[in-house]
Symmetry: C2
Subunit: 257 residues, 2 copies
Amino acid sequence: MTEKPLILVTNDDGINAPGIRTLIKVMNTIGDVVVVAPDSPQSGMGHAITVDTTLYVNKIVIDDGPQTEYRCSGTPADCVKLAIRELLSRTPDLCVSGINHGSNSSINVVYSGTMSAAVEAGIEGIPAIGFSLLDYAWDANFEASKSFVESITKQVLKNKLPNGIVLNVNIPNISENEIKGVKVCRQARANWVEEFDKRINPMGKDYYWLTGKFVNLDGGEDTDEHALENGYVSIVPVQFDLTAYSFMKELNTWELK
Amino acid sequence: MTEKPLILVTNDDGINAPGIRTLIKVMNTIGDVVVVAPDSPQSGMGHAITVDTTLYVNKIVIDDGPQTEYRCSGTPADCVKLAIRELLSRTPDLCVSGINHGSNSSINVVYSGTMSAAVEAGIEGIPAIGFSLLDYAWDANFEASKSFVESITKQVLKNKLPNGIVLNVNIPNISENEIKGVKVCRQARANWVEEFDKRINPMGKDYYWLTGKFVNLDGGEDTDEHALENGYVSIVPVQFDLTAYSFMKELNTWELK
């Protein structure tokens, strides 16, 4: 590469989150960085886009790094769309999203704003990676993540990714020397067993908080959950062609008029 | 089946939308219907869930049908979670979502609140179908949809669906006798080329509206787009294991530490 790669950085925890600040620092050592990230936390937003309300974007300076930064009132997917269509001078060579505060392994991928940003970039043909650390705390320690984020990013820039595929990288919440390595995995079959916490508001009206427990239903040793539980960084290649090709033949035998 | 199937009905256009009112009428002829749907439009919400704010649910009566109805302040995925965990007396035999005002074919599946509700039910092991009519208008004509909704629903109740797969059904906006039949399809490769409409608000601040043009990049004759353009109802079986298995072997050759 004769010139530095142009790297778009975004997330779903908001532009001030320690996770994205760490990601920006690592990316500054690899390429020219433009940050377009939500101005407030967007966790659980899935692949939401803003169609019914207006979007605001402000160029801002948060620290003394060389990156250019914009905060946006929209969702992570909005940020990627705005970056590509309006804010960047050329198509970026890479989009990285995160580092998310909390896991996006297994079924969490479908709820994840972090991964939806990566998928949105992938739809546009841009190699993309979502990074997540298995610690939901705002003051999570991202030190051990740095070297893995750097090496995986460099591998993507070197090898590229096939059209239609992005990477979902999850990092266990242990110290760097405890991490055993990196494993390519499939998404574990899992779900959330919700427990709605029913309360009564000061005006006497019932309301609910969504809470829940993550349940891994998958005994396989080739899953992201298994890798993470055993001290590995997990990489799941994620596609956004959702067609269940395996079922098409049987579906064609149905009596569909 | 000795007793009538229990059918959960939801959508993303809101509980008062003509599309869901049509869906409820058809389902009342097939089973016992419980409606749990958003109290306001949630289009473009993707697979968003409500984690940071409270959820309100109200039992309501909208028309004189036999169904039980609840309106909910949350997203389509929230509605399904609340229905299964809190509101229904037993696990439903089927979840249907829609009829959406507007297409959820090809890449729209990742942005679709309608389909996220179906996927959420699928994650819970419940057979699920998302229905969409290719007309964004509030006063869209759902007459031609009815018989297809009925026959596909009955086929799902009869044949069941494999674990991990839900159906994405799109219906062309033409009269019933113009519809040529039903085709099992794969998701077309397509994207939206956004055009952000930049404006200045009364206080002098820039803002954007997200607009865009749908672009079908896929010349295949086995896609949902091709079927719809040629007057067929499209059915895409949709999976929520997003693992790109085809890329795992190559990814394992990368220099990942």
